[in-house]
Amino acid sequence: MKTFEEKWTAWIDGELSAAELAEFEAALPDRAAAEAEKGNAHKLGAFLKENMPARAMGNEEFFHHQLRQGIAADARTAAPEESAAARPAFWPIGRLVWVGATSLAIFCVCAFFVMREKAPTDQSQYLTQILNARVDPALGPNATISMFELKEDKVTVLWTEGLQSLPSEYATK
């Protein structure tokens, strides 16, 4: 619901709809005085538009320069405080020690699990293993080969039988 002043301003500016216009003009106590006031308002508007244009800035560059210098000065005074607060100091010895100890502990845990996975579970894996063996048939035609893994002594023995016996001179260094 528009007040009378709003309707009056809209009437002067010619912004009332047809129904509002008829209703407003019917409600005016002195239509002629109102029309005269409307005419004066239009004349004043035209006069102001004609005689008071927006003033152009004569020293625009100087103004911008002053403004930028002011902003820069403000930034300089605020920057050291901000940077000092934002940049963390180099880690102190205590923290370095803690970080080192923590890293070492993590490494030990990982190494423990890796070593446990790699460690041979069967004791025979610690013993020397004979993969294959053969005797020259010409030098030992009836030779046989056996393999023993002595787990208590941790010794592996390749046992040959039937090799040709040799004279004692073969024991020479």
């Binding site: 610690y126 004979i130 993969l131 063996a133 030992g140 941790k154 390749l158």
Partner: protein
């Protein structure tokens, strides 16, 4: 600030050094041609056989063990080969690479120029290998390989 920096550098160097040192452990393999026999006054057993003295005596039944040929080879890559020889026997060892517990070896026992015995084994660091060779006179030729 410089002290902390030095501390960090020192820590890193120690870690890297430890890693490199543990990765670069070299192993020495002793290979021996051993003559075993029984005598009234046995000589002292060679130090390389100390750890298996009991096994040798109980399994082979001799009281004296003399080294007639030997070789000590330090393995760096695990792919080296070497020879331990006496006058009539030679043991050619050809390492075929490192395994989880030791080395894979190809062994050839030469009697003069003939290959008497050939075998392939995974030699463990914790477990010596003994090979019973031919009877020689009143004794026995044994081949022994130990990772020291």
């Amino acid at each position: 600030m410089p002290r902390r920096f030095l501390l960090l550098i020192g820590l890193m160097v120690a870690l890297i050094w430890g890693d490199v040192a543990s990765a670069g452990v070299e192993q020495m393999v002793w290979s021996g041609l051993v003559m075993a026999n029984n005598v009234a006054q046995p000589d002292k057993i060679p130090p390389e056989l100390n750890r298996i003295e009991g096994t040798l005596k109980s399994w082979f039944g001799y009281n004296q063990f003399k080294v007639i040929g030997q070789s000590r080879k330090t393995l760096v890559t695990g792919s080296e080969d070497w020879l331990a020889s006496s006058k009539y026997f030679s043991l050619l060892v050809d390492a075929k690479g490192e395994t989880e517990t030791g080395y894979r070896l190809n062994l050839k026992l030469f009697q003069e120029k003939s290959v008497l015995l050939e075998t392939e084994a995974r030699l463990s660091k914790a477990s010596p290998l003994v090979i019973k060779g031919p009877q020689v006179g009143d004794g026995q030729l044994l081949l022994v390989l130990v990772i020291q």
